[in-house]
Symmetry: C2
Subunit: 349 residues, 2 copies
């Protein structure tokens, strides 16, 4: 499909096949054995200051760049983990990738992201490519918090499922605690004085929608309350948020808060409320879920929402990957989320 890259004919510094200096070249220039050169460069103890300096000078002079691949061949480590996502817009994958990188430590292990585009075949291809490149582990990021097929068990390397969790209970999955999301969202509204709360959510089949609802209902019950009207399910879009909010208002049951299943839905709710001249948060509070800053911070009023703590999710996933007792983490781990308070639930002082 594409031609092969060739060095410009002009500059032929091709000391090695790859065009750069090798350890052997460095050793030669420094007048030491390759073994010594290796030790010197890797800061091993048993090298004299003098030779180390000589080797380092030689390396610098030659512009030596160690070949991590060759190194990995010996010690079995590549210092690389793969992250496979199906997340078209990167909303989940990127924060998770950040968390992964943080947990890995900047210099030791590197995380590389590749995009499966929601295509199972492609996902498998990527996984194979990663395994063939001997990554030390793979994190599979889903774009919703439902069960997904397992990629298999004995792949010879640890695999952690993040956000979407594996169907196989022997796999290790880390995800968001949607029940707790519902709880803290409801709690926040209750604490801030709301008593008549309606709920607009996304796609009913999604466990995110169902579990959040459970958390909300239970928390309300603990406070001798219940949702006003039936919860409305649709999709996670602004359009649905607008439409559903109109329906809620037209039910003619008074409400003082709308708890939305996502920031997109909440944006739609805000739109409809504004259009009807209803003050937020004065008359009705609106709350979202996701803390998608683009949407939540730029709305009017800005949106109180639940942060899914995706970076933490990424960090945890990476830690599980490198847990010496990897398989002890089999099963699904649910990570707590936190409320981010902005202006849509609490009047500005």
């Amino acid at each position: 499909m594409i031609a092969e890259y060739r060095e410009k004919p002009g500059k032929t510094m091709s000391l090695t096949k790859e065009g750069g200096a090798s350890l052997a070249d460095v050793a030669k220039l420094a007048n030491v054995s390759q073994a010594t050169a290796s030790k010197a460069l890797n800061a091993k103890i048993d090298v004299s200051q003098a030779t180390r300096a000589r080797v380092e000078d030689a390396a610098r002079e030659l512009g030596y760049v160690p070949n991590t691949l060759a190194r990995g061949l010996m010690n079995g480590r590549t210092g690389t983990v793969g992250v496979i996502t199906s997340d078209l817009d990167g909303r989940f994958a990127l924060p998770i990738l950040m968390g992964v990188e943080d947990a890995l430590g900047s210099d030791k292990v590197f995380a590389f992201l590749c995009d499966a585009r929601g295509d199972d075949v492609r996902e498998q291809t990527l996984l194979n490519a990663l395994i063939q490149r001997r990554v030390e582990g793979v994190i599979i990021v889903g774009n919703q918090t439902d069960l997904r097929p397992s990629l298999g068990r004995d792949l010879g390397l640890p695999i952690v499922y993040a956000y979407a969790m594996s169907e196989d209970p022997e796999d290790v999955s880390v995800t968001v605690d949607n029940y707790q999301v519902g709880q803290i969202a409801a709690q926040h509204l209750i604490y801030s004085g709301r008593r008549r709360i309606a709920h607009i959510s996304g796609e009913a089949p999604h466990s995110a929608a169902r579990k959040r609802l459970e958390g909300i209902v239970d928390t309300l019950a603990e406070n001798k309350m219940e949702l006003v009207g039936t919860p409305l399910f649709g999709d996670w879009s602004e359009g649905w948020g607008r439409a559903a909010t109109a329906m809620v208002l037209d039910r003619d049951e008074p409400i003082d808060a709308i708890l939305c299943g996502s920031d997109q839905i909440a944006r739609g709710a805000l739109d409809t409320l504004r259009e009807r001249g209803i003050d937020v948060p004065g008359q009705i509070a609106v709350m979202g879920v996701d803390n998608w800053t683009l949407l939540a911070a730029n709305s009017r009023p800005s949106l109180t929402t639940v942060d899914l703590n995706l970076e933490r999710l990424g960090r945890t996933a990476a830690q599980r990957l490198y847990d010496p007792d990897f398989s002890s983490n089999a099963g699904i781990e649910y990570l707590p989320c936190s409320v981010v308070i902005r202006d849509s639930t609490i009047p500005r002082l």
Copy 2:
């Protein structure tokens, strides 16, 4: 920072250091030499059907996974390119990554994304990590279309700058043709009958803002028109879009279109217009730039905008990377964009 991964003590299939079968294992089981096994598996011609079958069976039985790293050591190719982005929300990086993958072909070369987080030091660290892993090329994705410092010339591998372009004219950069963006946006408005167009853009120092303005002004001039009022610069946010639109309307110069520098700004414009009871597109047309579907398709009315053709940009970048005559592409290449017509400029039939 993290412990090392160890196989579960139970399953000791460690035929090799890495826990999987090696080519040598396969060869032994198939009763052929390693050389023959290699040829058989790589579909080279000079192997008999019988032996090839035997080798393939052996490989399957052992669950053999070739080590791409070792292969790369010999033939100097790793089948991997790196993409480094500073794009926090993945808005630019992900579509570009897709384009890169498309150009590369799914099986031959893989693209891995890593996130520099806008940190120059981190960017350099990642580049080094990539070079040490002997990627065949690197694509640097910026998050705005301005010049950025070069990472240097003689790195021993091709580097292409995408979206943001390198200051060094010897580097190869591909980016969006912002002048043309301005042209086609203005053209679309003119063709659809608008005559009094105001312009609200983002940060004035950004070349994206300046060049788009040029394209707009020139196109208007060609049609014996000019912008109504001074163009307004602020930032690329909804909030600025709202505020600036109010300013434009308060100027009391009649307009029939607002051409916005981004979809976010356009969303803000839509908000303010709706609030003032002005019909879009009936009275005033609104147009954005970016075709950020999340924003553009979900607004009311949906937003006519300019698609930056980021996937194409990615494809082009990948092609440049593998151009046999790489350095002939030195300089900046500007790629054209295209208008996506939705409901904010043309009344629905």
